[in-house]
Every structure is written in structure tokens, then in C-alpha cells.
């Protein structure tokens, strides 16, 4: 290449000092480390030329934390004390050695494509497959809640449209972590109040999902002041596709076609910015602008084109724009791209801006030359723009042109494999659990009802009806377990959503999630165990089967250079591996978002490490699934599983401002047994609800809402009342059984040695009555509890 360029800038890298290299990265918002800059310099030294701005941007995007997961794939040396000796453990590639390892080891026969494509793909039935992907969109949401969250939804939907040869999106999930909504203190400049963020985010998700005609069926919202500066937004999408359309078929000489919206300057540097700290003078151009209808329009035509076999590969233009999409599709072959052909929103974009722009609603499709006209025609008929912008070559090079000028010429090998591997040496210091005196009973035993009321109206427990009912969870007509169920005007929340996508059989898809905003503060391993267990038990409790459950991980962590955060990440991955292998539930997809911190007067304020586990299960008969509301009066109510001294990080302790006790962990001896037994007792269960945030009492009361059926229980056998009511121990359910099935039910549990306890009976009288050692400690009308629960969000 000649050194003088008309359309792009040549950057003097080959003679740059280390200081200069750092400066180039910082000023250009490239988010590259010195080591990476040195590697790039070395590459161009061997080429005996300097890179263009376009080349440097392409490398920065491809090597970004967002696209490459540099930390999670890093080599990590871990040192910790075991007894008196130091033990060292080495991970060559953290992700491969933990999460992937679990999936490989389980080797589930229903997995079709895992950690390869835009989404994880599993078998649904004999002919069809299901794809599931969950993304985070945290940084953009903090800057612009509405735009950030709506483009988050749009992006994950495109992941599904762009996985395999294209799946039809059939459901969305959304999980949010917000700061303390009752915050009264002055927030730093550039930070929005959690309430404002919540409203913006909900509106964004609603407007995009509803317009796309995709039901938003599952999710969760948690609050903790540790998210005050950095809210988290997780968007998931589930799609269905024929099994013969699971794999892409790329080969040289095929055309690269850009489909959908036009390209503008919005969202430039989204990929690199997403792993940088937030502060108050970031440019807003890093946030993209969404338009659901453009996406809906190409969804309609692309599905048609897919079924006519008009294209051979498809992917979305997400983070990194065309650079990422073309770079990845053509990774093994090379490609030529002609940027002047890209349709623009307005003139004046530099070549690298066209190449890197993250303008939304664009897909890249690979079409053979013979079918080009037919493909473009089908798009045109419904006013969808489709433009040939280049072709797949066999040069193993990424060649990008603007008019007559070559603006980028990099070897695919260097681009995708040339990045220096990160290495970390860390030492973990396990903290000893301090001894504590439990004096719960004495100080709080007398006002159980008051405490219940506080727990029910706690933002992490209370009804999310305000949010849920703004989402169209019924569109497409597949939702057979809705997020809320009511016979009156009171709603019982459900543990999972169930979809019935094909009406010629009764097979269904179950979707759930597990997340906690408090546990991560105290005990990362227990947090990891708890959220995985929660996502799985949510599927079990609606009638799913442990043998057909698959997991997705989304790690959202704070400032990763900070040792504690990184060792926490390693511990969390290791725990996730063990739990997944234990349950036999493989990970099929995942995504991490690191460095969620805010620069507050030079001080780095990190979020609490947060792991979202999304779970998907396949059920054979949706008619035999279970919902949570009590079905009738005079039935027996039981709790299955063991309640332990695990109150640390619980909702009760957040209210009482206490932090003794332990964080709920996984009982490796019993959890699996409980879930397998649950499958056997399933035919006798009339209603079931898992126990999680707010403990057993919260679940019990939530079950009374849907039909206004009361409950009367006797807890005299219990030692510590508050612990039993509010501990958030894992692997527990409350179930309703007809007295006719009492014996067979109890015998089955006894035979399997599963712990359970008879609590009492459902009643026609709409009251929650709790007896404890000859005293009535709670005698409250359901309506009163419902009012507090339903208005807890206070928006």
C-alpha cells in the first residue's frame, strides 16, 4: 500500500514509543493495552508500513473485551492456602477450562451448536431446534436508558435471526439490576436516578419487543445500591429453527449482502467502550439508535428467503458493525468489501466510520451469485433495502476498499488469532466464617406479621406487575404459563414461562432465570451455586425434567484489574463448572460484561459481582405442567427440602441490617435427589412454587393470591421461627396436594429420603393463619398482604 491516502489517515505506529502507543489507544477510545499495541506495532513493522485508521480500528474492535472475552479466556495462575500449604492451580484458558469443560464433559445428546454461533442451539423435537441467547447492554443503558435498553433487545433478537441460517424469535426475556429506588442523596453528575433508569429501560424494552411482535415472557428485577452508578440490563431471546438450518455454509466467491437499515455515525466505538469505565464526559455517539419496524420488516423477508434456501449464511451487525460481521463470517477465507456501496443515512462518513458504525437493524447475508437477483427482489417487495457490498475470497485476508483506495489489508490469521494472551497471577484468601450469636427470636419474634409485610413490600420481592403488563406476553399465542396468573384481580407470580410453539404436538419450552443482588457481596461460590440452583428449580417446579435443562451464563463484574474481582470471577467460573456437571445441565451460550465501574472523583466504584443464569428446558406435555396459585381449599400444603441457617444476604437481613449467618449454598448430597423425586411426585402436585427471595413465607403467601384461597399452617415443630420463614436455602418448594394423595405422596418422598414437612391446609377463608407453639402469630387477610406486595415498587 502507498503511504499517502486520500480517504483515510495513516497512523504512525512503527516508530511510536510505548508512551505514544498508550496515548494513541487512549485518545482513539481503542481500549487496547500496551502489550496489545506493541503486538500491533510488531505486525506492521514486519509489513514495513504504518496502519491506516481503519486497520487500527478494525483490530481494536476485533480484540475488544466485548468480542474476544480476553479476561475470561486468559491464562490464570491461582494460588491459595489449603491447610498450611500453598496450592497453585493453572487455567490455560479460564472459559475453556471451566464453563466449556462442563459442557464437553456432560456431552448432552440434545445439544446441536454450543458456544459457536450467535446463540446456543438445542434439539426441540425430531425436526426443529431451539436457539437461546442472552446479552448484556449495561454501559449504553447507563448513558441513555431508553435507547440503551431498546437496542439491547433489538441486538439480541438479531443474534437469534442471525444464528444458524436464521431462527424465528418466539420469546424475549429481560433481567434488570437497578440501584436503590429510594435513593435520596445527590447522585454525581451524569448519573440518572434509579427510578428514571427503570422507567426508561422498561419503556425501551416494551417498545422494541412489542413492536417486533415477540412476547416478553420471563425476567427479574433486583435492586441494590451497589448498582446506583452502573445499572445492568440483560436481554434474552429464544428462537425456533428447522434442524437442517442450524449450520452456516460459507465458501469463496459468494456475495456479501447488507440487509436492513442504513448506516450512520451512531454507535461508533460501542464495542470498545463497553469495557471501559463510565464517567461523566463520554460522547453519546457511542449509544445506538433503534427502530423496531425496520428489524421487523427484514425479519419477515429473511424468514421467507431462508425457507426458499436463498442464502447460505447470515449474521447480525452488532458490536463492531460490518467489521465484526464480515470479519467473523469470512474468517477462514478472507473477503473484499467495497465501503462506497454501503447505503448511508447521510453523507460525510469516513471509511472507518462506515466500517465500524453500529447502526442498528442491519444483517449480513451470504448469497450465491445465481440467487442474488431473487434474494434482492424478495426484499424489495416489502421495502427492505438489500445491497451487495463485497464477496468472500480465498486470500485469507480482510481487504476493505473505499472507491479506488484500499483502506484495510490485514491477514485474517493475525486479526483473529494474533492478539497477545492475557495472563494473571492471583492469590485467593478465603475468609474464615466468624462465629455469631443468633438472637433473632428474642428481638423480632413477636411481630411476625410486621416483618412479613416489610418483606412483601421489599423491592426485590414485591410484584413486578407494573412492568410485566406493559410487555405483550401473549403475542404469537404460545404462552401457556404466563408470568402472572389471576382468577380474580390478584396475581400469583409464576416460577417460569412455558411456550407451546408447535400446535401439532404438546411439547413445550420452559424458560427461567436465577439472579441475586446480595449474595455476591459476601460469598461468591455460594452466590454462584444459588443462582444456578434457582434457575433449575424454577423449571423443576413448573414440571420440567432435570435431564432436559440447559444453562446460559452472563457474568457482570466490576473493575477486573482489581485482584479481588478477578479471583472472584475465577471462583465463580469454577463453581459454575462443578454445579453444571453435578446437575448434568450443560452451558450452551454465555456472555460476560466486565469492568462495570464508575469513576467517582478518581475512585473506582464497582458493582457487586452479579451472575445471571438463564435456563431453558424442554417438556413433553405442556398440559401436565404446574402453576403456582393454590387450586382449591382443604388441600394439604407441604414444604419439600431443608431450611437451614442461611440468612446472610437474605431479604430479611437487608431489612434488619444484619449480616451474620451464612449465604445459601448448594446441598450436593440432596439437591439432585430432590429434583429427581419431584419428577415422580409431579402427577399429584396441584400447585408448586419455589422458595427464593423472601423465603418460604413469601412463596406461601404468593400462592394464595391467584384464587384468593387462604392457608392455615402450624409451625410448632420449628425451632427458630424467623429462620424457617425467611431463610433462603436452596432446593425447596411449597406444594399443594389433595388429601386423597397424601399417603402415596408422603411414601414416595420417604422412600427417596427427601426431607419434607407438612405445613397445613388451604382454606376457603381468605386468610393467612400461622400457628406457632399454641399461639396465633399471624392472622391476616390475603387482601392486605396483596396490597402491600402489589404496591411495593412505588413508582
Amino acid at each position: 500500500m502507498k503511504s499517502s491516502k486520500k480517504y483515510c489517515k495513516v497512523i504512525n505506529l512503527i516508530s511510536a514509543t510505548d508512551d505514544k502507543l498508550v496515548e494513541i489507544s487512549d485518545k482513539g477510545l481503542l481500549s487496547l493495552t500496551l502489550k496489545e499495541m506493541q503486538t500491533i506495532k510488531k505486525y506492521f513493522v514486519t509489513l514495513k508500513r504504518n496502519p491506516t485508521d481503519c486497520e487500527l480500528e478494525t483490530i481494536a474492535q476485533t480484540w475488544s473485551e466485548h468480542c474476544k472475552h480476553k479476561t475470561l479466556t486468559a491464562k490464570i495462575k491461582l494460588k491459595y492456602k489449603k491447610g498450611r500449604k500453598f496450592v497453585t492451580k493453572v487455567y490455560d484458558n479460564l472459559l475453556k477450562d471451566t464453563i466449556f469443560y462442563a459442557t464437553k464433559k456432560i456431552n448432552h445428546k440434545l445439544c446441536l451448536s454450543v458456544f459457536e454461533d450467535n446463540a446456543g442451539i438445542i434439539k426441540f423435537d425430531e425436526t426443529d431446534a431451539v436457539a437461546f441467547k442472552v446479552e448484556t447492554h449495561n454501559h449504553p443503558t447507563a448513558l441513555e436508558p431508553y435507547g440503551g435498553s431498546s437496542t439491547g433487545v433489538g441486538g439480541v433478537i438479531r443474534d437469534i435471526i442471525g444464528c444458524g441460517l436464521g431462527a424465528k424469535p418466539i420469546a424475549n426475556t429481560d433481567v434488570f439490576c437497578f440501584g436503590d429506588i429510594s435513593t435520596v442523596e445527590q447522585l454525581p453528575e451524569g448519573v440518572f436516578h434509579p427510578k428514571r433508569i427503570l422507567k426508561g429501560v422498561v419503556n425501551g424494552v416494551r417498545d422494541y419487543g412489542n413492536r417486533m411482535g415477540i412476547p416478553t415472557v420471563n425476567g427479574s428485577i433486583v435492586f441494590n445500591k451497589r448498582y446506583n452508578y452502573n445499572p445492568l440490563v440483560y436481554c434474552g431471546c429464544i428462537g425456533i429453527l428447522p434442524q437442517d438450518k442450524v449450520y452456516k455454509k460459507i465458501s469463496p466467491e459468494q456475495l456479501i449482502i447488507l440487509v436492513g437499515g442504513r448506516t450512520g455515525r451512531d454507535g461508533i466505538h460501542g464495542a470498545t467502550f463497553s469495557s471501559a469505565a463510565l464517567h461523566n464526559d463520554l460522547p453519546t455517539s457511542v449509544v445506538q439508535i433503534g427502530d423496531a419496524i425496520t428489524e421487523k420488516m427484514f425479519l419477515d423477508v429473511l424468514l421467507k428467503a431462508r425457507d426458499l434456501n436463498l442464502y447460505n449464511a447470515i449474521t447480525d451487525c452488532g458490536a463492531g458493525g460490518l467489521s465484526s460481521a464480515c470479519g467473523e463470517l469470512a474468517m477462514n477465507y478472507g473477503c473484499k468489501i467495497f465501503l462506497e456501496k454501503v447505503p448511508l443515512k447521510y453523507l460525510g462518513l469516513k471509511p472507518w466510520e462506515i466500517w465500524l458504525s453500529e447502526s442498528q437493524e442491519r444483517m449480513v447475508v451470504i448469497v450465491s451469485k445465481e440467487l442474488k437477483d431473487e434474494f434482492i427482489d424478495i426484499c424489495k417487495k416489502e421495502d427492505v433495502e438489500a445491497t451487495v457490498i463485497g464477496e468472500i475470497t480465498n486470500t485469507k485476508k480482510l481487504e476493505v476498499f473505499f472507491r479506488e483506495e484500499k483502506v484495510c489489508d490485514i491477514d485474517m490469521q493475525f486479526l483473529h488469532k494474533g492478539n497477545p494472551k492475557f495472563e494473571f497471577d492471583i492469590e485467593i484468601k478465603f475468609q474464615k466464617i466468624k462465629k455469631y450469636d443468633k438472637n433473632l427470636e428474642i428481638s423480632f419474634g413477636k411481630s411476625l406479621v410486621e416483618i412479613i409485610k416489610k418483606v412483601l413490600s421489599h423491592p426485590n420481592v414485591c410484584s413486578k406487575e407494573y412492568v410485566i403488563q406493559q410487555y405483550d406476553y401473549e403475542v404469537q399465542g404460545n404462552t401457556v404459563l404466563k408470568p402472572l396468573i389471576s382468577y380474580t384481580q390478584q396475581y400469583s407470580p409464576q416460577d417460569s414461562a412455558i411456550l407451546w410453539p408447535k400446535k401439532d404436538s404438546y411439547k413445550g419450552i420452559v424458560i427461567s432465570c436465577g439472579i441475586n443482588s446480595f449474595y455476591g457481596e459476601y460469598d461468591i461460590c455460594s452466590m454462584t451455586e444459588s443462582v444456578i440452583d434457582e434457575s433449575i428449580r424454577n423449571i423443576i417446579s413448573v414440571g420440567g425434567n432435570l435431564e432436559k435443562i440447559f444453562l446460559l451464563d452472563n457474568f457482570c463484574w466490576g473493575e477486573i484489574q482489581n485482584d479481588g474481582q478477578l479471583s472472584n470471577l475465577v471462583l465463580s467460573c469454577e463453581t459454575a463448572k462443578n454445579v453444571a456437571i453435578y446437575f448434568g445441565t450443560p452451558f450452551i451460550s454465555g456472555k460476560d460484561s466486565l469492568n462495570n465501574y464508575f469513576l467517582l472523583k478518581e475512585k473506582k466504584v464497582s458493582i457487586v459481582p452479579t451472575l445471571l443464569i438463564s435456563a431453558i428446558g424442554i417438556v413433553d406435555d405442556i398440559r401436565k405442567t404446574i402453576s403456582s396459585e393454590f387450586k382449591s381449599f382443604s388441600n394439604n400444603v407441604y414444604i419439600i427440602g431443608e431450611t437451614k441457617d442461611e440468612l446472610k444476604g437474605s431479604v430479611l437481613y437487608d431489612i434488619l441490617k444484619k449480616n451474620d449467618s451464612k449465604v445459601p449454598s448448594l446441598d450436593y448430597k440432596n439437591a439432585k435427589k430432590i429434583y429427581k423425586t419431584f419428577d415422580k411426585i409431579k402427577p399429584y402436585i396441584l400447585s408448586a412454587h419455589d422458595c427464593s427471595d423472601g423465603g418460604m413465607i413469601t412463596s406461601l403467601i404468593e400462592m394464595t393470591f391467584g384464587r384468593n384461597i387462604g392457608v392455615e399452617i402450624n409451625l410448632s415443630k420449628v425451632d427458630i421461627l424467623l429462620e424457617f420463614c425467611f431463610s433462603e436455602s436452596n432446593s425447596r418448594f411449597i406444594v399443594e396436594i389433595s388429601p386423597d394423595n397424601k399417603e402415596i405422596f408422603e411414601n414416595l418422598l420417604n422412600r427417596e429420603k427427601v426431607k419434607f414437612m407438612y405445613l397445613g391446609k388451604t382454606t376457603m377463608k381468605p386468610y393467612v393463619i400461622i400457628k406457632y407453639k399454641n399461639e396465633i402469630v399471624c392472622n391476616e387477610e390475603i387482601k392486605n398482604f396483596y396490597n402491600l406486595w402489589s404496591k411495593g415498587l412505588n413508582l
Binding site: 412489542n210 413492536r211 417486533m212 420488516m297 406493559q470 401473549e474 403475542v475 404469537q476 399465542g477 398440559r623
Partner: protein, 263 residues
């Protein structure tokens, strides 16, 4: 030969799409299940004369966010029809054996074309933002007007189907109200379990005047409603289908079957 025979025995329905229509798939399914031959067409197909309305017995404008609904819901779709397909549409509804059905966004479109409450092509009523100021997705009770001129008056007294919309508040002037009441043009009203139509939010999810959820023209051949009958074709779609003692009728299916009877 078989094809021709089928066409003669089955009525043919056209589901008309625009960019942003999103309930077309389940509407097509609902029609198929209840014995219609169906075709889904993009509005561009009608404008380019690739498809003509003349071959159909039923025209359905399904739910969705046509053209994004960025300005008043259904408005752009209505304008497209009004300026490009008015003649064809007039021909269609003047034929007494044909029915036009608008669901959700389709209702908004029909009102904004001026086909409802009467076929003057002048907008007389509107469907505006819900009183709650939010999109509302809920199951509702509907009271069926037994004196309505359309075949749907034969539905049971009270039915349940879901609504999902942000702009569903039926609004009209006093004069129009008098007319549509006198002509028995109200088809569905939001009500409580007992059929009481004076109930407020959330039973009336949007604040509609007179609790109106669906109306017809004077002849009963143009039918429109905000709730989604195509979402209740199977009993498993009902929120409480897991209760044994409840006798569940998929009212959406009954809805389409009833229309099918006169076509």
C-alpha cells in the same frame, strides 16, 4: 380438481399485512383451524395489483404496530388504504356476502379510514391512549350485545380473551354515541365476571367510553375489536387451564367459527 373443490366449500380469507404487523401468523392459524382457506398479503401486493380483494370472502386486518404506530396508531396504514385502495375496498364491502374484520391495530385502522362506525371514509371516533398511560396486556371479560346486527351476537353472554395495546380507549362524541347505541353497533363491552359493564380499571383496561371493546357497522358486516380472539384457540392458552373444575371454552375459536358460519 381437488383444489377447486376445496375453494368452493371453504370461504377464503385474506390477512392483510403492513410493515410492523405482527399478529398475522397466529391470525392465519386461527382462520385455518376454523375452516378458512387463507392467504397472507403485504399491502404492497395489493397496491401493485398482484393480489386483488375480489377473490376473498373475508378481509382481516390483524394486530401489530403498522408502520411503527409512531404517530397515532394505525394512522399510516389507514392513509395508505384510503389513498391507494379506496375503490377496491368500497367494491369489497358493498358486496353483502363479505366481511371485514379488524383486530387491535386493525380496529384502529378501520376507525381511522372512516369505515367504522359507518362507511363514510370520514373519521368519526378514535382509539386513543389508555387511561393508565401504559401498554396493557391482560385477560378481560367481554359482554356480548345480543342485539348487535352481526352474527357474533350468538356468542355466549360473557366471553374471556386477552387484550394487549397502548391505544385502545374508545372515544366518541355524544352524537355518535347516541347513534351507535340506537343502531346497536356496540358488539363487546368490558365487564366483570357477572357481566356488569360499569366497572373501571383494570377490568376496563383502557378507559373506553361505555366500556366499548368492539363495534360493528350498521349492517354487522364490518367488525372490529381491541381484544385478540386469535390468542384463545386452545384451552391451554387460558391462564387458569390447570384448574380441573373450570369448564374452559376457547372463546377465540368460537369467535372465528361463528364468522365462518355465514361465509
Amino acid at each position: 380438481m381437488l383444489n377447486v373443490l376445496l375453494k368452493k366449500t371453504k370461504p377464503v380469507a385474506l390477512v392483510l399485512r403492513a410493515p410492523g404487523t405482527n399478529c398475522d401468523f397466529e391470525t392465519l392459524q386461527a382462520l385455518k383451524i376454523t375452516g378458512f382457506e387463507v392467504l397472507s398479503a403485504h399491502i404492497n401486493d395489493l397496491i401493485s395489483k398482484k393480489v386483488s380483494l375480489s377473490g376473498f370472502n373475508l378481509l382481516v386486518i390483524p394486530g401489530g404496530f403498522s408502520f411503527g404506530d409512531y404517530i397515532s396508531a394505525g394512522k399510516i396504514f389507514a392513509v395508505e388504504i384510503l389513498f391507494k385502495l379506496k375503490e377496491e375496498l368500497t367494491k369489497f364491502f358493498l358486496d353483502k356476502n363479505r366481511i371485514i374484520l379488524g383486530i387491535c391495530n386493525g380496529f384502529q385502522v378501520l376507525v381511522k379510514i372512516g369505515l367504522l362506525p359507518d362507511e363514510t371514509f370520514v373519521q368519526k371516533v378514535t382509539l386513543t391512549e389508555n387511561d393508565s398511560g401504559r401498554f396493557e396486556c391482560r385477560w378481560v371479560y367481554l359482554k356480548v350485545n345480543k342485539k348487535n346486527p352481526s352474527i357474533l351476537k350468538y356468542l355466549p353472554d360473557i366471553i374471556q380473551i386477552p387484550v394487549a395495546h397502548g391505544e385502545g380507549k374508545f372515544f366518541m362524541s355524544k352524537d355518535v354515541e347516541k347513534d351507535i347505541i340506537n343502531n346497536e353497533q356496540i358488539l363487546f363491552q368490558y365487564c366483570d365476571e357477572d357481566g356488569n359493564t360499569s366497572c373501571g380499571y383494570p377490568l376496563n383496561p383502557n378507559g373506553s367510553l361505555k366500556n366499548i371493546a368492539g363495534i360493528t357497522d350498521k349492517t354487522g358486516k364490518i367488525i372490529a375489536l381491541m381484544p385478540h380472539p386469535e390468542r384463545f384457540m386452545y384451552k391451554e392458552q387460558f391462564p387458569c387451564f390447570r384448574s380441573y373444575e373450570i369448564n374452559i371454552i376457547p372463546f377465540g375459536k368460537l369467535f372465528f367459527e361463528t364468522i365462518r358460519k355465514i361465509l
